[in-house]
Amino acid sequence: MRCGFLCRFLWLWPYLFYAEAAPIQKVQDDTKTLIKTIVTRINDISHTRSVSSRQRVTGLDFIPGLHPILSLSRMDQTLAIYQQILTSLPSGNVLQISNDLENLRDLLHLLASSNSCPFPRTRSLKTLEGLDDALEASLYSTEVVVLSRLQGSLQDMLQQLDFSPGC
């Protein structure tokens, strides 16, 4: 018990340090700007523009859906899944987006720390069920859908950030 508390304190120490160093307003601004940047990056990928939003793609249930994300920890978990999927994609375009998600998750942690509700960082997830099959059989669909849903999720997060989401 004691070890767990100590470990958690040590784990959060860097974030507390950064939270003190970086003004919270700057962190919030950077978070929003980074979300906009990722959204623009996805828009800038040519083959994602022409995808119809009306068409629903099935069989990719491992990709998070477009549900409202109301808490910072939930945002972090969702982004972690997206990051894992993007890292698995062989396309070079998404590598930069994966890095951006890494930064975005760090910013969410900072925001949570500033709200005095730090949460542990989502560790590496287990292999998503169906990801390997999807990557092998339907790479294009996977990339298009994951980017599309990520874009929607980010825009949803952007709106939520204006309302000071909870932990």
Partner: protein, 1149 residues
């Protein structure tokens, strides 16, 4: 029976690895009963903490020739510490006996081996090394060594004797030297288990079997020899021996250091330490030290490693420590020195320090460390300057004024390397650049950029992290290294520094931390457009922001007139949402170029590149600012009481027309006709008739937007033209390009608006120049190209609200004339000479003239010889009609050879003549030759002293017919007309038209006119008809009513008529001395014919010219003069004739 001798360890507690294995034949041993091949009671090495680490058997073998096969030797274990050999003998029945035998017995009669067994440092391999030491005869047999071992699964505190079948056999590798090595892999989990083993050595059919031994592998670990042995002299003058410890062994080691000092006296020592270094005090200059180190487990059993390779360290007579220092700029370093002079060490108090043998280091920087060691500290070091090939500073340790040649080397490197990073506009790549110029002097060094990435942002004070990564950088042509991070973490902090690796050490530049997001150089704005807004007249520049970054941006705009060297003007926009800006520009009708760039509004990052330039297009922006300034030239026609006014203006400039004038419109306003407009088009001149008292005109400029609002008015007023307010006007030439005009004004009740200054070259109707001058100006500088030899006329017009006033006109420079007279004193000498010369010439001409006159008049032919004059009484002529009637009756008309053209000339005809000596009154009459109407030419002359008429339909016809062509004769008629016009009405129109052509003062008011005198003198007209080319010349000669007026008005010939065709002399068929020709120089219509021309030469031209008509003017001022019967002849010549004539004339002259 097989006899097995088993070693027993209980006899060697202290150094149990120092065992000897002695073996001897069975008949010489003690008989023991052992179990079948397997000793039951094995030696338990674990019972002692002094482990059995090595079994070393020093055996001396004896060859026994009578041994049979399968003979088994009894062996025992012997160590140096215990000379008694423990022997365990097993018999077949399995009973064992343990006995102790003096080892000397085995040494004398048995065989022996050197055997070492240990665990390697990696704790994975158990090794036994066997070295046979048999007699030479015994070595001839093959040696086979097998190690049999048991490694139980379970750790037993008291191991049991393993069964025979449980042993595993390992064959040992034997080399040519009969040395064998046995390897047994020991799992890490069984390091603490008891390994039971025995050796079975077969050689020459003899089997040597060692006693059963047991050992825990962890207790016999033998480390590798220490590495990295190093010796250096410490700051305190001690010799520090250091080495590196092994990282593989799981326990701490102890080390044994063996060193020797070879100086004036030999010194050896052997010390055991637990640290990885050892200090040897009082290092001596001029000595050499040899050191070796080995290690062993510090706590618990273990085996000493082998000795490391010996390291020799030699000290010089002067010891610098450290001998070389590599450091960075600004740091503090210290050198120590021990100075041995001869055999005596110099006291540290007497040591002084020098730098580069050039400057003594201040003593305040010295420090005494003991009696022998001196220390100097060099603070705040500057970068080492390259001295030829030497890239270091030499630090000398000296004794007063004596320095040893050895020195310490100090390398100071400027490691303040700036690392500049820039993130691209797509936020995917960060490029970092750094220069190597500051560290070029350090040869043999390598540079490396190392970085550490933090998850978010940078810390306030960047520091060098122990965990860093290198980054590949590539040297560019500009001497910069370039490192590219791609992809990047936008908000992570990249702490970077440059590591300089050198043989003397490594240096790190001060670390710098950058966040890629704050180093963005955005893409330039796109879709930049520039235009001049219509009707508003502002330069509007619009753009689109780049897609990245998402931060708010500020914009910078530069714009200027397009050209080779653009003078840029800057404008900054701090509104991130702005997409365009409108700027005032002075010239709305010029091409502007504009560029835009952007940067983050918070100031982070860099300015983007300038966008591609955008250019404006010149187009109409507004209605013209103003209409053109204009002036007028008035042509007065006093006869019709009309004035034609020509308005002049310059094309409107772009700045005023905004930007292109399509047309001009002249707007009139008079009291009677009101207001009306006339479209002038693009012309800059317009003429209209000024008929009313007051006429106001305005010139408007019109472009595609509309007409100008502010326009200039000019009121032409008859009454105002007499208002004179300019009292005086003076012109002073400064030089050929500038003239000053000044004037004085008188008081006036009229509202003076401005002046118009007009100037031109006097007597030339070339370009009139004018300027508008404000009314307040009293002096004005005209900048123009003035020709000094010309006279200029300057006119100053006051312009009132009510109209144009009376101008003040001057025709010369005021001051210039005075100066010219004063300056040109030479003229007073030259002018009289010229005048006298001219007088003499004139006199000569007069004399010549009189003589020629006499000569010519003597040769005047008798008119009676003319055919048409046959029967006429010239002494008493009746009337003109009679004269010609008679003539026409006898003369037939020939074909008219005159070309269809009009020749007009002034002639004077004496109204009456009776004889050649009688004076007759003459008048000037235009001679009109209308060749188109000359098929039947007629001349009508009214001789009523005041009138003469030429009638085409008249009955009086003059015909000159060559009756006898073979007889050269001159037939002529003399027409004498009065200047009064005739009363024949039907001829009037023709005459009028002819007169209007010839004497139109409007068309040629002043050019090439006959001089006044030419019209005042009496003139005579002669028609000389060639007998060889008889033609009828019947010009219409009449007098219009206008003639007198024209004559009184000093009418001139029109230039056009004069220039269209020249009149030439065709020649005289039989001139001889009968006829003479006089030409007036003033007559522009006549070819000047030199008086000295010979008529014989002129005759040549008869063939080419069909007619010759000449107008002869006799100089004179009086209206009456003695008439000379003479017939001048005129005719137009063809071009060829004209050329021939000209050539001939030149020959004549």
């Amino acid at each position: 029976f097989i006899y097995v001798i088993t070693a027993f360890n209980l006899a060697y507690p202290s150094t149990p690895w120092r065992f000897k294995l002695f073996c001897m034949p069975p008949n010489t041993t003690y008989d023991f009963l052992l179990p079948a091949g397997i000793p039951k009671n094995t030696s338990n090495l674990n019972g002692y903490y002094e482990p059995l680490l090595e079994a070393k058997f020093n055996s001396s073998g004896t060859y026994y020739s009578n041994l049979t096969s399968k003979t088994t030797f009894h062996c025992c274990i012997w160590s140096e510490e215990n000379e008694n050999c423990s022997v365990q003998a097993d018999n077949i029945e399995g009973k064992a006996f343990v006995s102790t035998v003096n080892s000397l017995v085995f040494q004398q009669i048995g065989a022996n081996w050197n055997i070492q067994c240990w665990m390697k440092e990696d704790l994975e391999l158990f090794i036994c090394y066997i070295e046979p030491l048999f007699n030479s005869s015994f070595k001839n047999y093959d040696l086979k060594v097998h190690l049999l071992y048991v490694l139980p699964e379970v750790l037993a505190e008291s191991p049991l004797v393993p069964q025979k079948g449980s042993f595993q056999l390992v064959q040992c590798n034997c080399s040519a030297h009969k040395c064998c090595e046995c390897h047994v892999s020991v799992p890490a989990a069984k390091l603490n288990c008891t390994l039971s083993m025995y050796l079975k050595i077969t050689s020459g059919g003899v089997v040597f079997q060692s006693p059963l031994m047991s050992v825990q592998p962890i207790t016999i670990v033998k480390p590798d020899p220490p590495l990295g042995l190093h010796m250096e002299i410490t700051d305190s003058g001690d010799l520090k021996i250091s080495w590196s410890s092994s990282t593989l062994v799981p326990f701490q080691l102890q080390y044994e250091v063996k060193y020797s000092e070879n100086s004036t006296s030999m010194r050896e020592a052997d010390e055991i330490v637990s640290a990885t270094s050892l200090l040897i005090d009082s290092v001596l200059p001029g000595s050499s030290y040899e050191v070796q180190v080995r290690g062993k487990r510090l706590d618990g059993p273990g085996i000493w490693s082998d000795w490391s390779n010996p390291l020799i360290f030699t000290t010089q007579d002067v010891i610098y420590f450290p001998p070389k220092i590599l450091t960075s700029v600004g740091s503090n370093v210290s050198f120590h020195c021990i100075y041995k002079n001869g055999n005596k060490i110099v006291s540290s108090k007497n040591i002084v320090w020098w730098m580069n043998l050039a400057e003594k280091i201040p003593e305040s920087q010295y420090n005494i460390v003991g009696d022998r060691v001196s220390k100097v500290t060099l603070p705040s070091l500057n970068a080492t300057r390259l001295r030829g090939k030497f890239a270091y500073d030499a630090v000398y340790c000296c004794k007063e004024h004596e320095c040893h040649h050895r020195y310490a080397e100090l390398y100071v490197v400027d490691v303040n390397i700036n690392i500049l990073c820039e993130t691209d506009g797509y936020l995917t790549k960060m490029t970092c650049r750094w220069s190597t110029k500051a560290i070029q002097s350090l040869a043999g060094s390598t540079l490396q950029l190392r970085y550490h990435r933090s998850s978010l942002y940078c810390s306030d004070v960047p520091s060098i992290h122990t965990t860093s990564e290198p980054k590949d950088c590539h040297l560019q042509r500009d001497g910069f290294y370039e490192c590219i991070f791609q992809p990047i973490f936008l908000l992570s902090g990249y702490t970077m520094w440059i590591r300089i690796n050198h043989s003397l050490g490594s240096l790190d530049s001060p670390p710098t931390c950058v966040v890629p997001d704050s180093m963005v150089k955005p893409l330039p704005p796109s879709s930049v457009k520039a235009e001049i807004t219509a009707k508003i007249g502002l330069l509007k520049i619009s753009w689109k922001k780049p897609i990245f970054p998402e931060n708010n941006l500020q914009f910078q705009i530069r714009y200027g007139l397009n050209g080779k060297e653009i003078q840029w003007k800057m404008y900054e926009v701090y509104d991130a949402k702005s997409k365009s800006v409108s700027l005032p520009v002075p010239d709305l009708c010029a091409v502007y170029v504009a560029q835009v760039r952007c940067k983050r509004l918070d100031g982070l990052g860099y300015w983007s590149n300038w966008s591609t330039p955008a250019y404006t297009v010149v187009m109409d922006v507004k209605v013209p600012i103003k209409g053109p300034e204009f002036w007028r030239i008035i042509h007065e026609d006093s006869t019709k009481k009309e004035r034609n006014v020509t308005l002049l203006w310059k094309p409107l400039m772009k700045n005023d027309s905004l930007c292109r004038v399509r047309r001009y419109v002249v707007k009139h306003h008079t009291a009677r006709n009101g207001t009306w407009s006339e479209d002038v088009g693009n012309h800059t001149k317009f003429t209209f008739q000024w008929t009313e008292q007051t006429h106001t005109v305005t010139v408007l400029a019109v472009n595609s937007i509309g007409a100008s609002f502010a326009n200039f008015n000019l009121t032409l007023s008859w009454p105002m033209s007499k208002v004179n307010i300019v009292q005086s006007l003076n012109a002073y030439p400064l030089n050929s390009s500038c003239v000053i005009l000044s004037w004085m004004l008188s008081l006036s009740d009229y509202n003076l608006i401005y002046f118009i200054l007009e100037w031109k070259i006097l007597n030339e109707d070339n370009e009139i120049k004018w300027r508008k001058i404000p009314s307040s100006v009293k002096r004005y500088y005209i900048h123009d190209h003035f020709i000094p030899i010309e006279k200029y006329q300057f006119s100053l017009y006051p312009i009132f609200m009510e109209g144009v006033g009376k101008p003040k006109i001057i025709n010369s420079f005021t001051q210039d004339d005075i100066e010219k007279h004063q300056a040109d004193a030479g003229l007073y000498v030259i002018v009289p000479i010229i005048i006298s010369s001219l007088t003499l010439l004139l006199g000569a001409l007069l004399i010549l003239h009189q003589r020629m006159k006499k000569l010519f008049w003597d040769d005047v032919p008798n008119p009676k010889n003319c055919s048409w004059a046959q029967g006429l009484n010239f002494q008493k002529p009746e009337t003109f009609e009679h004269l010609f009637i008679k003539h026409t009756e006898s003369v037939t008309f020939g074909p008219l050879l005159l070309e269809p053209e009009t020749i007009s000339e002034d002639i004077s005809v004496d109204t009456s003549w009776k004889n050649k000596d009688e004076k007759v009154q003459t008048a000037l009459v235009p001679l009109l030759l209308a060749t188109a109407d000359l098929e039947k030419g007629s001349i009508c002359i009214n001789d009523q002293r005041n009138s003469a008429s030429f009638s085409e339909a008249g009955s009086t016809k003059i015909t000159c017919e060559d009756e006898g062509r073979r007889q050269p004769s001159v037939k002529y008629a003399t027409l004498l007309c009065n200047s009064k016009s005739s009363a024949i009405d039907d001829e009037q129109g023709l005459i009028n038209s002819s007169v209007s052509k010839c004497f139109s003062s409007k068309n040629s008011p002043s050019k090439d006119s006959l001089s006044n005198s030419s019209w005042e003198i009496e003139t005579q007209t002669f028609f000389m008809l060639s007998d060889q080319h008889p033609n009828i010349i019947s010009p219409h000669l009449t007098f219009s009513e206008e003639l007198d007026k024209l004559l009184t008005l000093e009418g001139n010939f029109s230039e056009e008529n004069n220039d269209e065709k020249s009149v030439y002399y065709l020649g005289v068929t039989s001139m001889k001395k009968e006829s003479s020709v006089f030409l007036t120089d003033e007559s522009g219509v006549l070819c000047p014919f030199p008086a000295h021309c010979l008529f014989t030469d002129i005759r040549i031209l008869q063939d080419s010219c069909s007619h010759l008509v000449e107008n002869n003017f006799n100089l004179g001022t009086s209206g009456q003069k003695t008439f000379v019967s003479y017939m001048p002849q005129f005719q137009t010549c063809s071009i060829q004739t004209q050329k021939i004539m000209e050539n001939k004339m030149c020959d004549l002259t």
